[in-house]
């Protein structure tokens, strides 16, 4: 057994932590208030190489392990979930499908800018009437000569409409029982990016609905094999589960750090509130949840890095870490009392932000379904 991170992984943590503290933490509250997506900071994250951690060196990446990416996402998640999800989605949903399934031409065209963080890509899977039930995808793509003609709409798509978004990859029905994945460049005629959503949390992340009205793209924009769309996004989502869980670990750590500091400094009835069991035991539970979630996440990441099966472990990590994060933000807010309900308190922002962790990239219910099936239960 070996529980230590490598020297490089430790260095990555130190680098991202410092960047997050210096460049993100001081501005995150303002972005949250203004619903502002900070393209300049995303560009800086790109310059540090964060979007290229796992990409092949051929495309400008570092070819490093998935664990390092999880560490970066965890550290960003501590100070700002919006920037953490921007990185998570940028790599997991933007870069990975092209990196995994793209042709050489597609890779050459899109990856260098995406890997360097100069541009972003969104992944359009969810539709207004097809979320967990992705098989109900209604967006259609029909071949007309040398072009796909796309009609339909997508919902809640991260990194899909910023000024630095260069493309979205979407799933579309290309036959009665056939779902395929197609690259739609930004600016394609008939590809309409709806105004940014008003969300309960993640105010500084870029999320849009997308509408396609006779949007035409070249036949060559098909990603991988025709009819393999279902398989492609399922494999994409397995990785994403671990990465979202890593984000949740960052949230847990923030709740622990903030609550611990506050419990020592805030007094009530003449004593620090940390001297009362009601508060101290909550904080003990916060540490327990943080450590348990972290172990699940990095074990799942390690399984993936060492080429072992990780589907079950990824689902367990996602389910436990995100549900713990939601509990932890609720408890941390309680520890802060009235101040915890104020927008300027970090835990208040984390409380609003955390709920989506139980929904995005596979709801808690889907995770339980995956786990139940993995156990061999005859569940539908």
């Amino acid at each position: 057994m070996e529980f230590d991170f490598t020297d490089e992984q430790t260095a990555v943590r130190a680098m991202v932590r410092e960047f997050a503290q210096n460049r993100i933490a001081p501005q995150a509250e303002q972005w949250d208030m203004d619903h502002h997506f900070p393209v300049d900071i995303v560009t800086e994250m790109g310059e540090l190489g964060l979007f290229g951690i796992t990409a092949d060196e051929e495309w400008g990446g570092a070819g490093a392990d998935f664990t390092s990416l999880c560490i970066a996402i965890e550290e960003l998640g501590r100070v700002d979930q919006s920037m953490a999800i921007t990185l998570e989605a940028g790599v997991g949903l933007g870069i990975n499908p092209i990196h995994e399934f793209g042709s050489d031409e597609q890779k050459q065209q899109w990856l260098p800018d995406l890997v360097a963080g100069r541009t972003l890509a969104g992944f359009g899977l969810t539709e207004p009437d097809a979320g967990s039930d992705a098989g109900a995808t209604a967006t259609r793509a029909e071949l007309d000569g040398d072009e796909w003609v796309i009609n339909g709409s997508k919902a809640f798509i991260t990194n899909s409409g910023a000024t630095n978004t260069s493309l979205v990859t979407i799933t579309a029905r290309t036959g009665p029982d056939e779902i395929s994945t197609i690259i739609v460049p930004s600016g394609t005629e008939g590809f309409i990016v709806e105004p940014a959503y008003r969300k309960m949390g993640w105010h500084a992340s870029d999320t849009h609905g997308l509408t396609f009205v006779d949007a035409r793209v070249p036949k060559e924009n098909l990603l991988g094999e025709r009819g393999r769309g279902f398989h492609q996004f399922l494999s994409t989502l397995d990785d994403g589960r671990i990465a979202i869980a890593a984000l949740a670990v960052g949230v847990l750590q923030a709740c622990l750090d903030e609550s611990l500091a506050y419990a020592k400094e805030r007094t009530s009835f003449g004593k620090p509130i940390g001297s009362y069991q009601a508060i101290a035991f909550k904080i003990a539970d916060l540490q327990m949840m943080t450590e348990a979630a972290r172990l699940l996440v990095y074990r799942a990441a390690w399984l993936k890095d060492t080429g072992k099966q990780f589907k079950q472990e990824a689902a367990i990590a996602k389910l436990y870490a995100t549900e713990s994060a939601v509990s932890a933000t609720r408890e941390a807010t309680q520890i802060f009392g009235g101040y915890g309900f104020m927008d300027e308190t970090l835990v208040a922002r984390h409380y609003r932000d955390a709920k989506i962790l139980e929904i995005g990239e596979g709801t808690s219910e889907v995770q339980r379904l995956v786990i139940s099936r993995g156990l061999g239960l005859p569940i539908r």
């Binding site: 490089e8 680098m15 190489g49 390092s68």
Partner: protein, 252 residues
């Protein structure tokens, strides 16, 4: 330009230091970090190297342990490192440190030696001057806005009242101020490359230096608690008193 940057690994300043009860030396944990001041030196070195297509070599007199701090500087972009790792150098005074570092940079060859102004754990603030004396080259201290010329280097030397512009022929020793440049973050690629960059290890004997410390720490006392400040009661003319006080400490 062949640039030597002297760096120091120190215990993480975020954690309280402990002193050895017998010899009063700082107890050094296995994991030490790069002194923040030295990140400025590395940054200045990298900028000069970029401007002159030069190289940056790190020199550190460091007790054995993890190379976390050195790797940090390599991840920023330094090319290689020379580590003087020698048990006999534990608890060295400033002069021994200067002799060791001077011997090492001399052996490797250099056009410019860059140091911080003083370390964040020892604070002697005399190593750069001692090195310049030992190497018999000019010393440019309290430097900011460093620029390379043709066989020269020009700096702004901070003084209590402003700055002087100083140009020196190379080779030279240059001590940068803490705010001289904003140090860059190591990039992810830099971190990955750092592990394969060469780190040569040498000893005092190999450098021909006899590590005799001329200094003994006889006693250590805790810093006196901060005294209460002066209170100026405002009788309508308090501003005159405040101006006088500020003039006394030469702020205005």
């Amino acid at each position: 330009m062949n640039i030597a940057v002297c760096v120091k690994q120190i215990p993480d300043p975020a954690t309280p230091y402990e002193l050895d009860a017998e010899n009063h030396w700082v107890i050094r944990p296995n994991d030490q970090v790069l002194d923040d001041t030295d990140r400025v030196g590395v940054e200045v070195g990298l900028q000069l190297a970029e401007a002159t297509e030069g190289t940056v070599t790190l020199f550190s007199m460091s007790p054995s342990g993890s190379l976390q701090g050195i790797r940090q500087a390599l991840a920023m972009g330094a090319d290689k490192a020379v580590l003087i790792d020698d048990e006999s150098l534990k608890g060295s005074d400033a002069l021994t440190t200067a002799r060791i570092l001077s011997a090492a940079v001399k052996r490797e060859g250099y056009d410019l030696v860059i140091t911080g102004t003083e370390s964040t754990d020892g604070f002697t603030g005399v190593v750069p001057q001692m090195m310049s004396e030992i190497l018999d080259v000019p010393c440019l201290s309290f430097a900011r806005n460093v620029e390379a010329g043709d066989g020269t280097v020009t700096i702004e030397r901070q003084t209590t009242t402003g700055y002087e512009t100083v140009t020196s022929a190379l080779p030279a020793v240059l001590a940068v101020t803490a705010g001289a440049e904003e140090p860059r973050y190591p990039t992810f690629k830099g971190i990955m490359q750092a592990k394969s960059k060469p780190v040569d290890t040498t000893t005092a004997a190999e450098l021909g230096v006899d590590p005799v410390s001329s200094q003994t720490i006889t006693a250590v006392d805790p810093v006196a608690a901060r005294a209460a400040g002066d209170v100026v009661e405002d009788d309508g003319e308090a501003y005159l008193k405040i101006v006088e006080l500020l003039e006394q400490v030469k702020v205005i």
